[in-house]
Symmetry: C2
Subunit: 340 residues, 2 copies
């Protein structure tokens, strides 16, 4: 419901669903009753006469560098991995550093698993987990609930206790100013974004994470994965650096661009990748929602190209669109496969 | 500016200022030009025909459990303590735990200063820093910029490197449902809120902070302070437990209630406090804005009562209203006095 006594048209917007018109009540309150929603966390906004608004009656927010939204929690049973349960909890560390690459102060987050003790001799594997276009570095632990998912998986014995590092994914922050189309269709801009991100990740973030946290520090214990833009970055960084990363994942990856690039582009992005590398790839895991209009086409092409090249990998098409509802499930499916 | 083509009245609201009406332009965009604002971080919202809205054009948000707002940064020189500067940065740790007192999963934040190394033998003093009514546990590090202020003070050698623990301040979360008036005017509810907060702070949060972080662990190295409701809590917890806390601060404290309570109420809240305790009080620091209509009266009464009782303390009246612009300055003035 939204009170908007003089509005002409009000809709509810949420990704993965068509805009849903609301009806005006006699009291000036617009309302919409949806079909029952599956238990989950749903980002949504209102659109009042063309202006996108957060729900003023809901203080639960999804931070974003361009378009924040409001978050609806439809609670479900404790078996859902994103529900906060009474299990041992890990810690989220918010780190700040001066980036010479980016020329300014930047931040990243680190999840340490329950029982993590920096004074003990125990070391952990590490997953670098990357957000999508317009997200900030907090996205995976706010709307993504990565810490809750890991807490629950670890409590059940279904995932290895691991450290998760979540950097800010923009090597060219100007991608945020030009809109989604140009950010990916302008290949020079996109490539600069990925290349400089790699530079700050490998040269600045990773040394801090692996110097200050109890990480194992070898490729067999190091993974990289991400969603959408972050999926593309995980593949770009990981597949070109198998000496550092043995475990690689892409969720709804914006592979190449979202304009249906094919083999030529892939060859250009991964010039050295060949079947001889299979022994160094412990896991290459790609997932995309069948209804992800932006990316399912390119992910299918990439799957076919990898097959053709003889690169061992897993490609999973799930239900769903380009949404956090899909990415939480992706993480819940991917994390248990790591470091086995 | 806010596009609202069919609205009848749009205003800008920010705490510490009267509602400011906007004017409708021919294009349906309402606009307001303010006088130049001093460099600072200003929370604000729009009110469109009675409905409070976040600025849809500003992705910078102030989280809140009841009424989030949008944050305007008017940048200033590096000398302003809340500006992010190229100095060594501390870390913010987000901790989660099961509270038996509250019967559920709760969280708190811990700031560790630059150079903090859990593997070293160095131990630090600790400040417990409490938020206000409707804030969540992140408030001091988001809109309050406590980590930035501490980073800057420490870089200048103006504050001792310290750990800052920021718990969630609700012993009776139902105070959030009943509105500000009842939350404080219903004394049974208010007292339960403070008493159970103390129980979870002393029994659950403090043991974790002091067990897992390198704190000195004695009263001379332990401070407690807060703003508004948190100021009242800091006084209630600290002044009744001088065996644990030698340094106490209240910023715009909601002391008693905001309905002008006097000596009887203070005597009831601090039954054992007397001049003989002065040797145990390293600092009792109260501040309130002269224009803080809610609290300046009670703070003056409390100052007078402390004087009458012979309790050594500092009472500072600053400019300003009941706003974060005041509380950031309070922290910047208070932190340098600690642990000397």
């Amino acid at each position: 419901r939204l009170r908007a006594p003089y509005a002409h048209a009000v809709e509810v917007l949420r990704s993965g669903a068509a805009p849903a018109p609301m009806s005006r009540g006699a009291d000036g309150v617009w309302a919409l009753t949806t079909a029952p929603l599956e238990p989950d966390f749903y980002p949504y906004v209102f659109r009042e006469d063309g202006v996108v608004l957060l729900d003023p009656a809901n203080p639960s927010l999804v931070p974003n560098l361009v378009s924040p939204s409001t978050l609806l929690h439809v609670p479900g049973p404790a078996s859902l991995l994103w529900e906060t349960n009474q299990v041992p909890h890990g810690t989220i560390h918010h780190e700040f550093y001066h980036s010479d690459v980016m020329g300014g102060e930047r931040d990243f987050y680190v999840y340490t698993p329950p029982g993590y003790d920096p004074r003990s001799a125990r070391h952990y594997p590490v997953l670098y987990l990357l957000h999508g276009y317009t997200d900030d570095a907090s996205a995976w632990t706010t709307v993504g609930r990565a810490n809750v998912i890991l807490d629950n998986l670890i409590a059940r014995g279904e995932a290895q206790p691991m450290i998760v590092a979540m950097p800010l994914g923009y090597g060219a922050p100007e991608v945020l100013k030009v809109g989604e189309y140009r950010a990916f269709a302008d290949h020079a801009l996109r490539d600069r974004n990925y290349a400089r991100f790699r530079e700050t990740l490998l040269g600045e973030v990773m040394p801090r994470v692996e110097g200050e946290y109890q990480t194992e520090g070898s490729r067999e214990y190091r993974a990289i994965a991400g969603l959408s833009m972050g999926g593309a970055e995980a593949l770009f960084v990981g597949l070109n650096d198998l000496g550092r990363f043995a475990w690689i994942g892409s969720f709804s990856g914006a592979i190449g661009s979202f304009h249906g690039e094919g083999p030529d582009n892939f060859r250009q992005s991964y010039p050295d990748l060949q079947a001889d590398d299979n022994y160094r790839i412990s896991l290459l895991w790609l997932a995309c929602g069948r209804e992800d209009g932006l990316h399912v086409g390119t992910n299918r092409h990439f799957d076919a190209w990898l097959k053709e090249r003889g690169i061992r990998h897993t490609y999973v098409e799930t239900g769903g669109e380009h949404t956090w509802m899909v990415w939480r499930r992706n993480l819940a499916a991917f994390a248990p496969l790591l470091f086995r």
